[in-house]
Each structure stands twice: as structure tokens, then as C-alpha cells.
Symmetry: C2
Subunit: 253 residues, 2 copies
């Protein structure tokens, strides 16, 4: 029985605010404003199949980390641990895992059945084009265990402060919905999306794509005043948004 | 991208107390005493792959409903709704779903790496031989949402009272660990494992297998005293355990 392999057919596809892997939050809910559409593929787009789903506030999406290679590694270095401590792949939510299956809890905003079937979701962590292989309702009486012990990841990761340059502020103000865009940028960049092994400070410009925007940013080090008895000042990373560019051939959500 | 299909290789197999589908709880946690071993298959049985997992109290198992046919149905009749109301398959946790993927939150009791890799779990809802395709740690800060709205299933299903016949009591007392067995029988049968469309009362003997035991039971109707102004007495199902048989060729967990 167990030697059989099983075939998975994508039932839906993600179309949201993350055109690239870089910048995608490392868990859903870390960027609660991030919206996406889950479009059911033609053979599954039966309005009956989602009947009653609108009465649930949260959904599980099971999906494939389709941009990852199929090889897996027994040990991974979670960004949470600074990228210098290894843990087992099954003790992590890393993408380099056997079968490349991902699992995300997202908020359901709307079920649309007028042209095909689409679910509008919020607080996701999925790159555009992600193939979804299952959709299930969240059952709080069974799946909400606030006191569960969670090893190396007992709490949400801490966020960096995010500031905007004068140029970035100016572009922001000219956009159709500056507040929503500012919140999304702050949520996404506040997680310091750089690979974990980078030092706190360096001078290079990074860029992340959010929907139809290209966001340039750099990391600056915040230094606390030198405390007596400490060898050196405490430093923490912060993000400065340098520039915001609306891309011409945009196809935003 | 989306038209590709993906191949899943089972990484582990379940060996627990449910040899047959009949009697398996409809959600994990409904029979909290039910234990099982998750045995990693040889190519995945690297102790490194589970390093750090022992620091988590709860795990997600993604698995295949391998005893189900591959066909799916857009509408299902959840037992919770008495089997007479239809909802969409994606608004349910039904087994008749595209890709036949299951998702269960279980309690992790122990990680064993001395001979291969085995996880001892509790509170599961998996039939023996179930192929597991992913193991992930539970993250309470992201996945515990006690106030989530849960449509037709806002609370655990109500349980039936379970009584034991004199004969069943006698056999129970002769077993190595009568208390554990009694608790497991009560948890499993308290859910009235019959298909939902059966009437409250009928005279037939049902049997469920739990580990190395065959448990015979019947459904009896509890009737509340006739209340003034009501047309007929209120009736609710209860379970009577008729007999307990230890099977000779047992291979229990």
C-alpha cells in the first residue's frame, strides 16, 4: 500500500500580491492585509462544491511549493533561528520538504460564484501561480490549541520598524489607495525578507514586488545608547523604503 | 503551470487502534486516548529529519484517504447535519474530495529514533495503513484562532452515553489494562459511529474493531418523561456495549 505514489491535480490557483518568492511572508497572518484570489480550475469550478463555505471565517489551503526543487534536505536552517542553527525538516515549515506540500490558514472574505468560482482571501503567504490542491474549513473547537508547545517558534517573529524616504512618501501619496499600500509595505518589509544569514546592516538596495509595485528598500541599523557594563551597543535592523515604482505592464490584484 | 499534476510519495504509515474505517472518529481529538505510531518509511527515516520535533506538543499530519475511491462529489452530507442536508465538499472535511487529502492535528507523545524513526501520537482519527505525505509542527500563534466562525460545525459533536452489559464488564475486567480500554471504547462509541441516516433505535448488533478487540454494541433510545404540551417524548440515542472479544491473531498497538 505504502509503496504506491499518488497523483495530485491542482484544483485552484493563487493570484495575489506576491509576483516573486522574495518578500512572501514566512507564515500566513504575518501580513494580514495581503489579499489574493483563489480561482478554482474549470473542472472543479462548480458552485455546489463551495456551498456553505461562506459561513466559515477561516480556511486551510493545502498547496505545492511549486517554485522549489523536488529535492529535500533532512536539516534546514529556519530564518527564525538566525539561519545558523539546524533543525529537522519535519520540525519546520520549510519549503525544501518531501512532497513540497504547504499548509496555510487564511481568512475568507468572499465566495464568488458568478463567473466560475473564486474565493477572496486575506493574510496569505502564497506566491502568484501557486497550485492549490485542497481547501478545507477551519474547525476552531478541534484546531485551536492556544497552549500548544511550539519549540523554537513559540511566538510570532518580531517586526522591524519601517520608515519611508521623502521620495517614497511622495509616490505613495499619488497612488489610488495610499493607506492600504503603506500598510501592506510595512507588514511585508517589517519582516526583513532578506535571507537570514545577512548581517544587520549593509548598504545595498533590495527590491521586492508587491502587486503592481516595485519597492526599493535598504536595511539600516538602529543602535540603542551604550549601556554601562555592556561591551557594545545593541543594534537591531530597521527598514527604510527608498522608492516605490508602479510598473507599466501591471496586472495587480 | 497549473495543468501539471504532482506526484506524492508516502513518507510514513499509521499503525494504531483502528483496523477498519468503521468506528474511526470523524475528527482527531474526539477520541483523545486513541494512540498510534507514525513510522517513517526507510528513505525518510533519517533521525536528522525530526531533530527538534520533540519540542512541539502538536503536529499536523497530511495524509491520503487511501481507502476512498478517487471520484469526488461536489456535494456531501455531513453526519453532523443528520445526513440529510447537503453542503459543498470544500466546506466540509469529507473524505470524498478531490486529491483525497486529509489533515489531522494530533498530540505528539514521543519521538523514537533508535530503530528507524517513529512518532508516538495521541488523539488521532486515522485507519491503520494510512499513508502520511507530510508532517509539520503546529504553530499556535498562527494557527490557534478560537473565535473563528465555523459554519455548520461550531462546536464538537455531542456524545452519546455509553453503558456496558454485564458480559462486557466481565470481559473488560480480565484485560491487561481495563481502564484504558474502557475509556477508548467510551470515546469511540460515544460518537455513534453508525452512518447518519440510521434511525435512533434499531435492534441490530453492530461491531467495531479497536486494536486487538472486537466490540459488539447496539443503540438504545433514551426517552425523557413526556412533557405537557409536547406531542411525543424526546428521544436520544445511547450505546450499550454488548460484548468484547479479544481476537486471536491480534497485532495491537
Amino acid at each position: 500500500m505504502c509503496s504506491t505514489s499518488f497523483s495530485l491535480t491542482p484544483i485552484a490557483t493563487i493570484d495575489g500580491c506576491y509576483p516573486d518568492k522574495f518578500g512572501v511572508p514566512r507564515q500566513p497572518g504575518l501580513a494580514p492585509s495581503a489579499q489574493a484570489r483563489v480561482t478554482l480550475r474549470e473542472e472543479f469550478a462548480d458552485p455546489d462544491a463551495v456551498r456553505g463555505l461562506e459561513n466559515f471565517s477561516h480556511l486551510w489551503l493545502t498547496f505545492i511549493f511549486h517554485l522549489n526543487p523536488s529535492q529535500w534536505r533532512p536539516l534546514v536552517r529556519p530564518p527564525r533561528l538566525g539561519g545558523n542553527r539546524k533543525i529537522g525538516v519535519f520540525a519546520s515549515r520549510a519549503t525544501f520538504r518531501p512532497n513540497r506540500l504547504g499548509l496555510s490558514l487564511v481568512e475568507l472574505l468572499e465566495v464568488k460564484v458568478d463567473h466560475g468560482v473564486q474565493l477572496l482571501i486575506r493574510g496569505h503567504d502564497l506566491v502568484n501561480g501557486t497550485p492549490v490542491v485542497d481547501i478545507k474549513p477551519y474547525l476552531p473547537w478541534s484546531e485551536s490549541i492556544p497552549d500548544a508547545r511550539a519549540g523554537f517558534a513559540p511566538a510570532p517573529p518580531s517586526l522591524c520598524p519601517v520608515t519611508f524616504s521623502a521620495a517614497a512618501r511622495q509616490t505613495l501619496a499619488q497612488q489610488p489607495d495610499p493607506t492600504t499600500l503603506e500598510v501592506l509595505i510595512t507588514e511585508v518589509l517589517g519582516q526583513d525578507p532578506r535571507p537570514a544569514y545577512h548581517s544587520i546592516k549593509n548598504e545595498r538596495r533590495y527590491a521586492v514586488r508587491l502587486g503592481e509595485y516595485d519597492i526599493g528598500f535598504r536595511i539600516i541599523a538602529l543602535t540603542a545608547p551604550h549601556q554601562e557594563g555592556e561591551e557594545r551597543p545593541i543594534a537591531a535592523p530597521a527598514v527604510e523604503v527608498l522608492d516605490i515604482t508602479r510598473l507599466p505592464s501591471a496586472n495587480a490584484s
